[in-house]
Symmetry: C2
Subunit: 314 residues, 2 copies
C-alpha cells in the first residue's frame, strides 16, 4: 500500500458547481482525490461573489489551479463558458474551456456546456463532464448514457464523442405533480425507496410497455385513490413510475435508444436504481455508475487536456 497522501500532494482543485451545490476535490498528480469539500453555496443560492464563496469553500487547501464544471459556467455563473456544438469529443470540450486568473491570483478553468443547434435544439451543462469521465474511464464505450435528475439527459455516445442528447424535465415534473397539482391530495411520501413498490413497476409497465400515453395516465392517479382505495403512499410510487416510464417511452419513440443498446445510468444511488428498475420492467438491462466519481474523472481528464494536470503516465 502506498503511503497516505497529504494535502501537500495536491496539484489541482476539481469543482462541480451547480445550481444548488458546490463540491470540490483536492486532487494529486495521478488524478486521485486527497480531500473533498461540499457546501450548499450553489450558484442559485448565492448573489454573485463567486471568488469569495469559492475561497471560503477551499480555504483549508493550498492555492492551486481550479477546474470547474456545471452552472458556474452559465450566463448566471461566475464567467460564461459558451456552449460547444454537438457532436463533441472530450477534446472539443477541452477546446471550449475558458481560463482566467482570479483577483487573488488563482488560475481558474471553466468547462463549457454542449448545445444542439439543429431543430429546436437542446443544451447540457455539467453532464458533459460526467460523460467525459465515462468516456475517459471506458474509452471503447458506445451506447446510451442516462443522467437522471431534475432535468434528465439521454446521451448517445459514439466513437468517443457525445453524438446526440435529449433532455426530459422528469424530476421537475414529478415535483410539480406530487406537490403542486391537485394530485398532491392523492399521494403521500411514506419514506423508503419508491422504485421497489409494485405500483412503481405497474405504472412503468403501462407507460413504457403497454403504451399508455403519459397524459392519459395522470388523472387516474386521483381515480385510483378515490375509487379503487389505493393508498396515497402507494400512489406516490405509481406517479413516479408514470413520469419515469413516460420518459423511457418517449426516449424510445424518438429513437434515443433501442434493444441491444449498451445503457449506463449515471447518478445518485437511489435515482439510478429507480431508472435501472424501470428499464428492467421495460425489458432493458442497464449498468449504474456513481455520478460523483465520473464528474471527478471528467474534470481530471479535461484538466490534463488543458495542462492543469500532467499527462497520465503508464
Amino acid at each position: 500500500l502506498a503511503a497516505k497522501k497529504t494535502i501537500g500532494d495536491g496539484v489541482l482543485i476539481a469543482v462541480d458547481w451547480g445550481t444548488s451545490r458546490l463540491r470540490a476535490w483536492l486532487v494529486d498528480s495521478a488524478g486521485e482525490a486527497i480531500a473533498d469539500a461540499d457546501s450548499g453555496d450553489g450558484i442559485g443560492r448565492i448573489e454573485g461573489g463567486h471568488e469569495a464563496v469559492f475561497e471560503r469553500a477551499v480555504a483549508a487547501w493550498p492555492r492551486l489551479p481550479a477546474i470547474m464544471a456545471g452552472m458556474i459556467g452559465s450566463r448566471q455563473g461566475w464567467r460564461e463558458a459558451p456552449y460547444v456544438p454537438c457532436p463533441a469529443t472530450a477534446a472539443d470540450i477541452a477546446g471550449g474551456v475558458i481560463r482566467f486568473t482570479t483577483e487573488r491570483g488563482r488560475p481558474v478553468a471553466i468547462v463549457p456546456g454542449i448545445a444542439i443547434r439543429s431543430g429546436d435544439g437542446d443544451v447540457m451543462r455539467g453532464e458533459e463532464t460526467q460523460v467525459a469521465g465515462l468516456i475517459a474511464s471506458a474509452p471503447g464505450f458506445a451506447g446510451t448514457v442516462i443522467l437522471p435528475g431534475t432535468h434528465s439527459k439521454w446521451v448517445r455516445v459514439e466513437m468517443g464523442a457525445i453524438a446526440d442528447f435529449q433532455t426530459y424535465m422528469t424530476g421537475e415534473l414529478f415535483e410539480l405533480l406530487s406537490q403542486k397539482s391537485f394530485l398532491r391530495h392523492s399521494v403521500a411520501d411514506a419514506g423508503g425507496d419508491l422504485s421497489t413498490s409494485p405500483d412503481f413497476a405497474l405504472a412503468v409497465r403501462r407507460t413504457a410497455v403497454e403504451g399508455l400515453p403519459f397524459l392519459a395516465g395522470l388523472f387516474p392517479v386521483r381515480a385510483r385513490q378515490l375509487l379503487a382505495d389505493v393508498k396515497p403512499a402507494d400512489n406516490l410510487p405509481y406517479l413516479s413510475g408514470l413520469v419515469i416510464g413516460g420518459e423511457i417511452a418517449a426516449a424510445r419513440a424518438t429513437g434515443r435508444f433501442d434493444a441491444g443498446d449498451d445503457i449506463r445510468i449515471v447518478g445518485a444511488r437511489s435515482l439510478a436504481r429507480a431508472y435501472k428498475q424501470a428499464l428492467e420492467v421495460a425489458g432493458f438491462d442497464a449498468e449504474t455508475l456513481a455520478g460523483d466519481r465520473l464528474v471527478l474523472a471528467g474534470l481530471t481528464d479535461l484538466a490534463r487536456s488543458i495542462r492543469f494536470l500532467p499527462e497520465k503516465t503508464g
Copy 2:
C-alpha cells in the same frame, strides 16, 4: 314576439355551483332563463354555510325550488350526491339526484356525478349535466363530446347515454408548466388568443400529427428561446399547443375518438375555439357549443325528470 317575461314567471332556479363560481338562472315553465346571477362563491372559496351563501345569491328572486349541479354535490359540497355508474342516461342521472328541504323551507335537488369503476376509474361532476343538456337538445347525437378546462373531459355519447369518458389534467398542467416550472422563464403572455399563433399550430402538429411524445416536447420550449431566439410571447402558444396537442394524441391513442366521429366541443368561447383549431390541425372537424347554455338545458331537462319542472309540451 312574446311579451317580456318577469320574475313572477319563474318556476325554478337552476344552479351551476362549482369550485370557483356559482351561477344561477331563474327559469320559467318552458325552461327559459328569465334572469341570471353570478358570484365568486364557489365551494372552494367559502367555508360551508352553503344555504346562506345561496340565499344571498338569489335574494332578488322568489323562493322557488332549486336544482344544482357541480362540485356542490361532492363530499366537500353542501350535500353529497353519490356518483352514478357509467354508462348513464339522463334518466340514470335523474335517478341519482338527491333532494332535501333547506332550513328556510326551500326544496333543493342536487345532481350526482358519474363514475367509471372499472380499471383505474374516472369521475366527472358537473360535466354530466352539460352532456345531458346536449343529449336533450340533440337526441340523436352519437359521438365525442370534449369539455376542455382545468380537467378536460372526453365523453363518448351513444344511444342517448354517456357511454364512456376520460379526464385529462390539461388546463392544470398548462398552468403549472407556464407559471411554476422553469419553463416560466421562456414564456410570456402577450394577451390575445393563443390558438391563432402559428406556434400553437406547430406544437399541435408535432404532438397530434407527427407523434412527438408530450414529454419529449417540453424541454425544447426552453431550447427554442435559448438557441432559436423564439420570443417568450411565441413560446406560450407553443406550450399551449403541446398540452392540447398532447391531449388529442393521447385521446386518440387510447381509442377515445377516431376519424369520422362527430365531435362537439363544449366550453367557454376562447378555449372551445383553441380546441377546434387544434383538432383542425390534427385533421378533425368539430362543432363548438356554449357550455353555459348546455348546463342550463341539462338542469332543466333533469328538473323535468324529477318533476321540479312540468313536462315539456308540444
